[in-house]
Every structure is written in structure tokens, then in C-alpha cells.
Subunit: 339 residues, 2 copies
């Protein structure tokens, strides 16, 4: 099969690899219908995370080809959406809703789903079958549920977005835009998107943003406070992962409010005393997408939400390198790859 | 009147000062029945926080002597307990339960209640009157409600201590011991106190600790995991404020669990990525004691809890310097001062 491999930072190729096969009785092998490039794939691309001939990709939808003897909830021919973290969905941590920290977890990025096929361990605990074969127009939206929608959704949940609340979203990447959509679905009264990019501002507004703030850093914090009687937002989603975005999120949240942080934040150091005197709640990390998948698939299936619009570039898998370039240069919000 | 003044780090004296008087119509003047020394008073004592001829103290109980024209809920002759943060208790932040971040807040440490008298601004929003004149044996417990009990209680609430949960408490100072008591009152199933001090271990057990862990740092984390099926505690209270204690708290909490941090943490830097991959909830800061005061006063009044036992040294106000020394040298958990 063909698979995207990052040889080194900035060096993305498509290679021939052996087809995956069932190893454990809890495995499934799926043929990918669509894959995509994640903002977090840019960390190794830019040399921030180590990379060396690494298969890439962790978001996926596809059709089950084969299952192991112990798999009971999906079968060959099913169309499935899976989380970007493998989980058994039965351990104590999974049962508490934190499947992304399952005692048996594997990050799908270690498998690589920018490919024609993939072996998915713990298929029952990771995959969710759709009610039938989806219309091709639904595929991009279903694909977002695998990570970017699930992550934005978790960010909004972690930030306690709810009716009557003001939610600010730091970051206008795909996850930030999905957090705007999630805040809207969760009933937030006012949704402030922080963005300087006209196209992204427009999409944020379509997804439910009521206000746009272009300022960043201290000026961004001041503007959010101005919009909230000097108090700060009830809920802030941090969907970038930089020091500036983190401090902006802390500063923009009112005491007793909630920050949901879903930007991977390798280089961030949070001054304890700033967190202390902020009086905020903070929660985040790798999103337990599997918790939300059945609900998200259902909302997409019923055409209630249209998250697939974050894909503004579609390419054949063979042109993955151009997809990485487009995202790195911010020419594209998010790239869908056709295997 | 007599008032404790810290001239410089390590230099504590008792001076004559003018008696306080009503300035604003929302003020009360109280005669202190008891005051005490807080662990956080050791920050300036040790030179970590600046100090220069600073009146000291922020915990207090006493009898109202005079009130301003707009005060309606307390009157001269009432015995009152007040929070260590002045709050109007009517602003939007107060109404959401975060009186320690009131838009009109003042830290009582700026007033100084290691003294014979004190002016308390926003008396209605800060003070709570007891049902009658307390028995002298109840005074130490009522005094704890002003900060140390209220702060330990908030730590346990922020850590989501509840029936069925395992709660670990990092720190065996007075706040840590109060967090143990709070976890017990909130119904926690298992309470792990982290302490190496036999006297404090004994008091922790009397307050409800079911397990004691003497190890610190990584070994402490490993021991907590060993006691919790490898998963970590559901709830961890950080009641120290050092880097080691903070990392210990993050490491000892299971994914999806809750950290309540109430140790003032000037020198702490939290690596964002450690917080990210921990998957914990974190909440803390200066405790909104006023939120809990009516309930805590009630529990003390009905002899349901006996938090006053954290005072293991009582001294006349004139001997405050010896009280500071005793706490600094960890000869005393907490010192009560008689004005």
C-alpha cells in the first residue's frame, strides 16, 4: 500500500509499505476513504518534534476490511470513524470519559493513517460505525470527528461552554474554528473568535462567532475584558499552544471561569503565580474524542453541523507534500487527502 | 492600640498605632478576640516577599465595636468571623462564588489583624456573625474559618473531593491538615496525607486520613500510584506552593482527576506539556472563604468539626516574634495570638 512518510523535517514523501494485517484478536484493518493533515503534524515538519522516516497521520475514516476474532461492534463493510487515540473503552480511565488516557492507549500517529490502509487495535473501543454508507458529501465532516472536531469540542467542554456564557476562542486554526462551532452547539450566548485572517474570520462567523478580536497578547486580553464589563470571558478555549496564546487565555478568563486548552504546548511555561491569582479552572490535553464520537457522528449524520468546511484544500494522497507546504505556509486551514 | 509590624525579614515587633475608625459607611471596626500567624506570613519573614515596616496578619475573629451607616447584617456587640479577603459579596464575581476576586477586594494582609482592633471595609460582604457569643473553647476553631480552614476547604472543593473518591493531600501544614478534614467532611472514601512529621501524621489521622505517605517527589508519586491501582488519586490538594509539591500533585492525579492548589506558589513554573499530557483539571488560588463561611461557622457551632486543634501554640500578642520563630523553625504548626 501507499503511505505518507516524513523522512526528516520538511521532507514528506509517499512510500510503498506492506499492507497491514490482523495481529491481535481485538484488531480491525480498514481501507481509508479519506485522511488529512493535522496542525500538530506541523510540529515535526518544522523540526520542533523529532521525526525520522516516520509514517504520518492520525485522523481517518474508512471501510472495515477485516476484524479479529474478538471484535463485536464493527464488521467488514462498515463505514467507521475512529479516534486519534486507540482506547479499549473498558478500563477505569475510559469509563470515566478519558479514553485518550486509556491504560492501553496508543496514539494513532504511531500507526500513520495518511495511507491506503491501517490496522486499528482495540477496534471496539476506538471505532464507531455510521448508520450506513455515507453520502460522499458527508465524508469530510465525518473525518473531522476523528480529531479536529472532537478536539475543538473537548476544548469547549473543558472550558465549560454553556447557555448564557461568553466563550472566547484563542486560535483560528481548524481546532479553533471547531471550538467556535462546539460553543455554538453547546448554547453559548456570545462567542468571540480571535483571528486576523479574513477568510477564517468569515468561517468563524458562519460557525457561530458573534464577535471577532484581532488584537493579540495584552491588547487581546484588554479587548476581551472591554467586551465583558472588565471581567473576562466565562470560558476560553486555547487552541494554539504557544506561550503568548496561553497567557492570553489566562488573562482573558474571569476569576472562577474555565480555560479549555487543546493546543499542544511543548514550549509553554506557565508561571504558577499567574495561574494562582487568576482564579480560573484549567483543563485540557489530548481530547478523549471517543467519548464524543457517537454524538458527533449523529449530529453530522442528521446534517445539524457541517464541520467539513474546514477543509479548504483536497489533494490525492500522492501529493501529500504539497498539502504540508500549504498548511505550513498558512495557505490552507486544513488539507484532506484522498488515498 | 498594639499591632504586630514586620520591620524587615525576620524582624517582628509590636508597636503602638492609632486606633482604627469608621471611614466609609460600609465599614465596621472590630475588637479582635484572637488572631494568628499564617504560613504565608513566612514568605516575607523569609525575604521571599518584600516587607518594610508592614502591619501583619489577615485572620481574625472579634466583637463588633462600631459600624458605618450602611452596614445592615452585623451590629455592635456581635461576634464575627471574617474572610482574609475583603469582598462586597454583591458584584458579579462574588455572586458566582469567587469573593476572593471581588471587583472591590482588598487583602486583609494590607490592613493587618495581628492587632487589638481592625477596620473591616465592606463589613456586610466580608463578616459573618455567629448565632451568639461563643464559648471560649470554640474561638480557635472559629478563627481557622477566617483563612486556614476556608482555604483547606476550598482546596478540597477545587480538587472535587466527594464520596467514593481517593483524595491525596500534598503538604502537612495547617492548610494541608484542614484539607484532610474537609475531604473527610465532603465524604471522600480514602484520604492520603503526605507527611514525614509524626505529630502532624497523628493529627492528619484524627482529621480523617486513612493512609500516610512519607515519600516525596517522584517516589511520592510512585507511592500514590501504587495505592491507586497505578492510576493516581481522583483528587489531589496542593497545599505547599513549591515546584516539587506542584509536580508531585500533577503526577499523583489520574487523567480526568482534579488538582486543587492553594499553596501560594511564587517560584513555581508549570511545564505546559506536563499539564497537557496529565489530562487533569486544575483549579485554585486565593480561597473564596466568604462563600464557605456560613456553612463552616455552622459546622463549628454545632461541634461537628474541631479545626482549632491545628493551633499548637498560644501566645500573647506581645510575644508575636516568638510565634513567627516557632513556625519558621517548624516547632509549631500554627500559632494563635491573644490581643
Amino acid at each position: 500500500m501507499r503511505q505518507v512518510v516524513m523522512y526528516a523535517p520538511g521532507d514528506v514523501r509517499v512510500d510503498d509499505r506492506d499492507d497491514p494485517r490482523i495481529i491481535d484478536p481485538t484488531d480491525a484493518v480498514i481501507r481509508l476513504t479519506a485522511a488529512c493533515i493535522c496542525g500538530s503534524d506541523l510540529w515535526p515538519y518544522r523540526g520542533v518534534e523529532p521525526v525520522d522516516h516516520t509514517p504520518m497521520g492520525h485522523e481517518y475514516v474508512g471501510i472495515v476490511e477485516e476484524v479479529g476474532a474478538e471484535v463485536t461492534t464493527v464488521k467488514p463493510g462498515d463505514f467507521v470513524v475512529g479516534s486519534f487515540v486507540i482506547s479499549d473503552n473498558t478500563c477505569e480511565i475510559c469509563r470515566s470519559g478519558y479514553q485518550s488516557h486509556c491504560v492501553n492507549r496508543t496514539f494513532v500517529s504511531q500507526i500513520g493513517t495518511q495511507a491506503e490502509k491501517a490496522r486499528i487495535p482495540w477496534a471496539d473501543g476506538t471505532l464507531v460505525a455510521t448508520p450506513g454508507m455515507p453520502d460522499p458529501a458527508l465524508v469530510p465532516s465525518l473525518l473531522t470527528a476523528s480529531d479536529v472536531l472532537g478536539t475543538g469540542w473537548f476544548g469547549a467542554i473543558a472550558a465549560d461552554a454553556a447557555p448564557g456564557k461568553t466563550v472566547a476562542v484563542v486560535g483560528d486554526g481548524a481546532v479553533g474554528l471547531m471550538a467556535v462551532l462546539a460553543a455554538k452547539e453547546l448554547g453559548a450566548e456570545r462567542i468571540i473568535a480571535m483571528s486576523r485572517n479574513p477568510a477564517r474570520q468569515a468561517l468563524a462567523r458562519e460557525y457561530g462567532a458573534t464577535d471577532i478580536v484581532e488584537e493579540r497578547g495584552d491588547a487581546g486580553v484588554a479587548r476581551i475584558r472591554e467586551l465583558t464589563n472588565g471581567l473576562g470571558a466565562h470560558s476560553v478555549v486555547e487552541a494554539v499552544g504557544t506561550q503568548e496564546a496561553t497567557m492570553q487565555a489566562i488573562g482573558a478568563t474571569r476569576p472562577g471561569g474555565h480555560i479549555g486548552y487543546v493546543g499542544v504546548n511543548y514550549e509553554v511555561q506557565i508561571p504558577g503565580i499567574a495561574a494562582f491569582f487568576s482564579g480560573v479552572h484549567a483543563h485540557g490535553g489530548p481530547a478523549p474524542v471517543r467519548r464524543f464520537l457517537p454524538d458527533l457522528v449523529d449530529r453530522i449524520w442528521r446534517h445539524e453541523i457541517d464541520p467539513g468546511r474546514v477543509f479548504d484544500l483536497e489533494l490525492p494522497l500522492e501529493e501529500a507534500a504539497e498539502g504540508y507546504r500549504a498548511m505550513d505556509e498558512r495557505r490552507s486551514i486544513k488539507v484532506l487527502l484522498h488515498p
